[in-house]
Every structure is written in structure tokens, then in C-alpha cells.
Subunit: 200 residues, 2 copies
DNA sequence: TCATCTCTTGAGCGATCACTCAACAAAGAC
DNA sequence: GTCTTTGTTGAGTGATCGCTCAAGAGATGA
């Protein structure tokens, strides 16, 4: 049974507001004062419900990772039968999701902790590890594709993983710089031309 | 003739120290206190010599733009006879310059003002405009290449400009995430496979 | 010598930062 | 009703932020 005074705000709604702010401005450029205002709660409630600013941010990242724009890469890798289809879908969905005006532009994990003071280096490392984990997923999938014959023997799975990772990160930044979905779709189409042709 | 008490520190050396800090951490994550310590001057001297923090940063960006890692793109576009050679050189030099351990990783213009509070939005806009100006240079050069027959009629100069811009920005971020020159050279080689083949 | 000009220095300005806490409020347990 | 538990509130903590300024120092010009 729920003891004590019940919470007067919706935790998920408040988290969504925090996500929006962190996504737009990044970790350090978002102050606790702005957070409490956007979440419509007082500092004490924020710290009681979420711990400190770092804990709130990490929870935001977890929620973001389960949202459509945060989960489309893992979803495509899991659902597409061929690796080529997976990367085609990933690039096209990135082109649609990153400039979507219904939320801040680009990817939170890519852009929310680029500029941090030494005392918040942990937050930057946290997101960097997530990005490098993603590169690892790419590499694993591409290696498997090579073993199964979808990629020719002279292809370089590690290089392809870095390449697609770079293109995706570049698309995120271009979306934040104002690039539109049609422009990013053309980037995606060009990027796919680097896919290794089947062995002759 | 120089009137008044002469400056006791070397302005260019101090600027170089400021550049290093801004490059490493970004605009807002670098405090004036850290700047004065790194430049080995007191706040009054900084403000007398450089104006305020924003003016110092803009001067840092100008100096950076004349340094090797800040100028290699314009240099390649100006010096290479063919557009293909220019972009080949740009990507290879980016792969060498961005992870170079003799300075902070990546490109200052790409990564120094990703996360800013609204009161420093002007700084973010300043760098964004520089990035979009660069995209414009790419587009102009690629359009000229098409008119001169180096690119086939069905090529899309605007799309190619966005594509190479995205790859370069992605390479900068990957360098900041720890990617090495060999890895980035492979990214560069893959990226060039998107270059339009001559009309059959 | 002395006035003038510029730079340096160190103290310190108001504002904002992340965060805390005592007092109070609203629920269930008994 | 009373106790216990948890959440809310608003004032306020010390630290740091970008920045300023009066006082002193080092140079030139007259």
C-alpha cells in the first residue's frame, strides 16, 4: 500500500518536460531552476523524486532510449532480416526523426553533453560510452553479415561501423543546424553508396 | 609611438592558451577563471586586452580559422585542380588532423558551442553560420564541377555538399570519442565511394 | 621633473549555480 | 483521533559565474 502523502505531479510528464529541455540545450546548459519551472515543481520535489541533477539526466537518457527517436537503431537491427536493409532503414529513419519538429532536433545522446566542465566529465563519458556501444553493435552485425556471405570477404566491418556511425552523427548535427528531412534523405541515399558491392 | 605601460604578456601566446581551453571544453564550459589561470593573467588584463568573454572567443575562432586544422578545407578547395581531388584531400586531412594528439580532438567550430544557455545563443549561431557557410562553399564548388563536366548531369551538388559536410562533422565527433587516424582514414575512403561515377 | 597614458593587480560586485532544510500537508495504519 | 510516513513548500546555503574598479606601476612626452 502507498504510505505517506501521495505525489501531486505526474512523474512521467515531469520527466518528459526534463527530457525536452536536456535535449534542446544539453546537460550543463540546462539549470535546475529551468527544470523545476518546466516541470512545474519546486526544487525539493525534484530532488525527492529524482535524486540530483545527474540522476535525473541519466533517467532522462533511459526514457529517451525507449522512445521512437532513441530506439529506432536497435529496432531496425533487430527487425530487419538483412544487414543492408537494416542500415538502409536506420539512415532513412534518422533522416525523418532528427529534423522532426515535434521534438528538439538531432539525437540527445549525440549532442547533449558535448561541452562540459571537468566536474561533469562523468556525464560526457556516460553518453560517449553509449555511442561507442552503438558502434560495437554495428560492428557485430556487420561481422555477422560478412560471415554469412552478405558482405564480401574484403569488406571491413569495423571501418563500415565507424563510417555509418559518423554519417549518423553528422546527420544529427546537420538537423540541429537546420537541415530538413528531404535534404537528410539525400544524404542517406548517398551514404548507402559506400555499401560494398557483392563479390564479382 | 606606444604610449602608456606596455603589456607584460604575449597576446598571441595568451590567445593560444585560450584557444586550447575553448577547443577542449567548449565556450560555456570554460570559465573566465580557468582562462586567466591558463593565460597566466588577471581578469583585468583579460578584459583590457580582449573585451569580454564573447569577444575573446570570437577572436579565438578567427585565429583557429587561420591555423592548419581550421584552414585545411578552404586551402584544399583553393589549391586542388579538380573537385574530386579537393574532397579526397579534405577527407584525408580531416582524418589526420582531428585525432592529432598535439591539440584537442575534433574541430572547434563543429563542437565548441553545441550546448549553450539562451543568453549565449549568439555564440552558437556564430559557429552555426560558419558551418553553413562552409556547406555553401561545398555546394558552389560542386555546382561548378557539374557545369564543367566533372560531375554528371544527374548528380545533386546540394545533396553532395550536405553529405560531405555530415561526414566531416561525424569524423570530428568520432575523433573526440577516441577514433584514431587509421580508423578515420577508412571512413574517408568509404565516404568517397559516394562520389558520382562519370556518365556511361 | 612631472603630467599623461596604459596596463596590472587584488578585492569584490550582483547574479546565478546546484542543492538543503525546517515547517507544514496529506495520505494509511491502528 | 493519533502516529507514522512521505511529499510540498519557500527561504536560504556556500560556491562559482562573468565582470568591474580604485589604486598602483611602468612607459612616453613636454
Amino acid at each position: 500500500m502507498a504510505r505517506g502523502r501521495p505525489r501531486t505531479f505526474d512523474r512521467d510528464t515531469a520527466l518528459a518536460q526534463a527530457t525536452r529541455l536536456f535535449w534542446e540545450r544539453g546537460y550543463e546548459a540546462t539549470s535546475v531552476g529551468e527544470l523545476t519551472e518546466a516541470m512545474n515543481i519546486r526544487p525539493g520535489s525534484l530532488y525527492a523524486a529524482f535524486g540530483d541533477k545527474k540522476s535525473l539526466f541519466k533517467e532522462v537518457v533511459e526514457v529517451y532510449g525507449r522512445s521512437p527517436v532513441g530506439a529506432f537503431i536497435g529496432k531496425a537491427l533487430a527487425e530487419e532480416p538483412t544487414t543492408h536493409a537494416a542500415f538502409t532503414r536506420i539512415l532513412r529513419e534518422a533522416a525523418a526523426a532528427y529534423p522532426d519538429p515535434s521534438h528538439p532536433a538531432g539525437c540527445l545522446i549525440i549532442s547533449a553533453a558535448t561541452n562540459v566542465t571537468p566536474q561533469d566529465a562523468e556525464v560526457a563519458t556516460y553518453l560517449r560510452d553509449l555511442r561507442n556501444t552503438n558502434l560495437g553493435l554495428f560492428k557485430t552485425r556487420l561481422k555477422a553479415a560478412q560471415q554469412q556471405g552478405e558482405l564480401p570477404p574484403d569488406a571491413d566491418p569495423n571501418a563500415l561501423a565507424h563510417y555509418f556511425g559518423a554519417v549518423i552523427q553528422g546527420m544529427s548535427q546537420q538537423a540541429r543546424d537546420g537541415a530538413t528531412e528531404p535534404a537528410l534523405l539525400k544524404v542517406a541515399a548517398l551514404a548507402l553508396k559506400a555499401w560494398p558491392p557483392p563479390a564479382a
